[in-house]
């Protein structure tokens, strides 16, 4: 990786972790939602440092644009019952479990020597630094090895989710 991408990685990684911690720690739920937006933005920057430009844009559009608005609407609509965002009684156990999991994951990630694969045998591939948008479209819509059926299923699933959400919240 070149130097700029490394600097971007360190900045966005620190921002993402701190913002995620703030989401968990801050008592005001609305502020937690705003920190969540910051965390989404940092993850978009991480995608950028991985030269995944289309995913970075999709992250900004879908997460920061749509999901955060949904979450802030949810916070607003249930506002007058919430007394902040407190921890429940089991939080020390949750902390122990999650700290153990984090240590275990970090140990495994450092200890494993990840093998590299041959790029010619690994499905649709582009060389480093190329724009990914049209290549992703070709990878999805390829007639033989594409993802056409999952894409159609995802479209049906989103339609079902939209109709279901409307059916759940509308007045009788």
């Amino acid at each position: 990786m070149d130097f700029g991408a490394e600097v971007a990685f360190w900045i966005f990684a620190v921002v993402a972790v701190l913002a995620a911690l703030a989401v968990v720690m801050v008592r005001n739920l609305f502020r937690a939602a705003l920190f969540l937006v910051l965390s989404f933005f940092a993850v978009a920057g991480i995608y950028g440092s991985l030269s995944a430009d289309f995913l970075a844009v999709a992250q900004v559009l879908v997460y920061m644009g749509a999901i955060s608005v949904l979450i802030i609407f949810g916070v607003m609509l249930t506002k007058n019952v919430q007394r902040g965002n407190p921890f429940n009684r089991a939080w020390p156990w949750a902390l122990v479990v999650c700290a153990t999991l984090m240590g275990l994951l970090i140990f495994v990630f450092q200890d494993t020597s990840w093998t590299t694969v041959d790029a010619s045998q690994a499905g649709p591939v582009i060389s480093e630094g190329e724009a990914t948008t049209s290549a992703i479209a070709e990878a999805i819509f390829d007639k033989d090895s594409g993802f056409l059926l999952p894409l159609e299923i995802a479209a049906a699933m989103i339609l079902a989710a939209v109709v279901g959400a409307i059916a759940l919240v509308r007045d009788e």
Binding site: A33, V43, Q82, N88, I126, P150, I158, A165
Partner: protein
């Protein structure tokens, strides 16, 4: 030290653990949903990092496609989840996950 696959995977593991901790230790259902979004993001970082680093000097696009599908599912999950939360609030005037015990034996 050069930034490589391990750095991205460790970042992903840290974010996932933070999200899991929040999802396990919160009262508020919307807070739990937020932490689940953090966990989905962490998994996505791992997938995209593998697609970037597993082959020398090349980007494997299957990982990007998978991450896109995860983003789609996360959007649908947020919509339905928040609809359920709002219905719950309307019916029972609470967003506390501990107080929703209608199906408790």
């Amino acid at each position: 030290m050069e930034v490589g696959l391990t750095h991205y995977l460790i970042l992903s593991g840290i974010l996932f653990s933070i999200g899991l901790f929040g999802a396990l230790s919160k009262h508020n259902v919307i807070g739990i949903l937020m932490c689940i979004e953090i966990m989905l993001n962490a998994a996505n970082i791992a997938v995209v990092a593998f697609s970037r680093f597993l082959a020398e000097d090349a980007v494997l696009l299957t990982g990007h496609v998978f991450a896109l599908f995860v983003i789609m599912v996360a959007a649908a999950e947020a919509a339905v989840g928040l609809a359920i939360v709002i219905t719950l609030y309307r019916d029972r005037a609470t967003v506390d996950a501990g107080k929703v015990d209608l199906m408790k034996g």
